[in-house]
Amino acid sequence: MTSDLRHGLGTSPTGRRQFLKGAAATGVGLALAGSLPLKALAAAGTTTDTVQTIINTALIAEQLATTFYYTGLTTPAIIATPNLAGKSGSVNSVGSDGNAGNVAYFQAALDQENKHAAALAKAGATSSQTGFYFPATTFQSLGYTSQVGTFLWVLDHLETAFIGAYLAAVSSFGILGHADLSQLAGQILGVESEHRALGRVVAGDDPANNVTLEVASFTAVGDAGAALAPYLTGKGFTGGATAFIALPTQAQITTVVGSNASS
């Protein structure tokens, strides 16, 4: 029935070709090049994932996202722009030349990613990551979702990857017999979907909510882990990577989130 449902939506030109152009420029996503189309390779009712590998990958993804938003919110080239905090560059004292609403989206996103990571860790997920790498130009300018290598471009691609990872988790948890965990993955996925759309709001993309369905990029969560590998190693980004950026501490995060924590 899934194929019937998808068929009912028809097809339209996808963003894959456009993405691959960007990927060629930055190296992002090269780890996927040999594994597509992932959907076609899926065997019905089986998965290469286990509960432990899923939550481990999810924890790494949440730590990566935490590092991404924190660094964006504390890097003057990003935050001291009119679409964010303005000249003050202060997340908790946005000037009249800034946009407090946009800053609040990112503060809340940082808070949410951090809480997702904490919950996963408390539930037994493990990660050896102490920091991450990003495409070299990520924190040099806010940019646009269509401007390769800029902060908002990376945001769009990271959040799409996270959404894809949690969609795969919904399926894999289901195959493994965990309806409750499938639903929980869905609850996180919805929040990541909000992040993607709000990144597009900051970018001024019309419409911000531009997809009919969230994009199912992966058949298994393990494939998402492979796609994120450049962020863990700093290897594979055409144009190079940033220096190693440490995962922020809880005290650092709390200060930056300010009063825009989520419930």
Binding site: M1, T2, D4, R6, G8, L9, T11, S12, G15, F19, V51, A100, G101, A104, A108, D111, Q112, K115, A119, A123, H157, A161, V170, S171, S172, G174, L176, G177, H178, A179, D180, L181, Q183, A185, G186, Q187, G190, V191, S193, E194, R196, A197, L198, V201, G204, P207, A208, N209, N210, V211, T212, L213, E214, V215, S217, F218, A227, N260, S262, S263
Partner: protein, 265 residues
């Protein structure tokens, strides 16, 4: 219905849930094998047919909601939407209109229509040809009974319905359908956030987890009953509003529809 929508999601419940479900290897002390056995014994009152039928009704309801908003002058004349032109395809510029906000609604309308079409094509059926809304829904954008408040209530219900759908589909042995429900649910989550953007409610993304309000999709169907009957709204209901046809919705959406992106990464 409002009482059913109280905030029951919290980080504490999140942790309890994941621990109880058995991912909590280090929390609850459950062995994975034990949890698998527990998971496999889950039951649901839903069936595949009842789930997609309820989803179709919800998508038709959402379609009617967004179409009516985009074509009601009392709504569209708000400076956060069309402004004095009230035309979704020619909204005023700030401060007399906000084109970006109008496009959120145009894209949402398009997405809901496409969701409904896909469900119908897959065999879902719906008896609904019209819907009712709380009486003040289309009289103002802001306020307790205004458009954005109803949007938040409806989208929260749709998200919760699809979350229940995920669980029920898995219990019924359809992990593929669970993933499909999640793909729609994410889009409904975007709609909820866009409504908060229009309302200037910061942060728009205010939840750590989307709210799981229902244990079965059938509960969502019950919660949405007032929108089908017009009975049960405190303060009364609007007159019946017909489900718009494609020849009506297409020009309203204009060039700001959504795309089915099958691969991006």
């Amino acid at each position: 219905m409002d009482s059913a929508f109280r905030d029951r999601a919290s980080r504490a419940s999140f942790i309890r849930k994941i621990a109880a479900a058995g991912a909590g290897l280090g929390v609850g002390g459950f062995a994975v094998s034990t949890v698998r056995a527990a998971g496999s014994s889950a039951t649901t009152p839903d069936t595949v047919q009842s789930i997609i039928n309820t989803a179709l009704v919800a998508e038709q309801l959402a379609t009617t909601f967004y179409y009516t908003a985009l074509t009601t002058p009392a709504i569209m004349s708000n400076s956060q939407l069309g402004g004095s032109s009230t035309d979704p395809n020619n909204p005023g510029q700030p401060p007399n209109g906000n084109p970006g906000n109008v496009r959120y609604f145009q894209a949402a309308l398009d997405a809901e229509i496409k969701h409904a079409a896909a469900l119908a094509k897959a065999g879902a059926t719906s008896p609904a040809t019209q819907f009712f809304f709380p009486q003040t829904t289309f009289t103002s954008v802001m306020g307790a009974g205004g458009l954005l408040a109803i949007l938040d209530t409806l989208e929260t219900a749709f998200i919760a319905a699809y979350l229940a759908g995920i669980s029920s589909f898995v219990t019924l042995g359809h992990s593929d359908l669970a993933e499909f429900a999640a793909e729609i649910m994410g889009v409904e989550s975007e709609h909820r956030a866009m409504g908060r953007v229009i309302g200037g409610t910061n942060p728009a993304n205010n939840l750590t987890l989307e709210k799981a309000l229902f244990t079965a999709v059938s509960q969502a169907g019950t919660a949405l009953t007032p929108f089908l009957t017009g009975q049960g709204f405190t303060g009364g209901a609007t007159p019946a509003i017909p489900l718009p046809t494609a020849d009506k919705t297409t020009p309203v959406i204009g060039t700001f529809g959504t795309r089915l992106v099958t691969m991006f990464l």
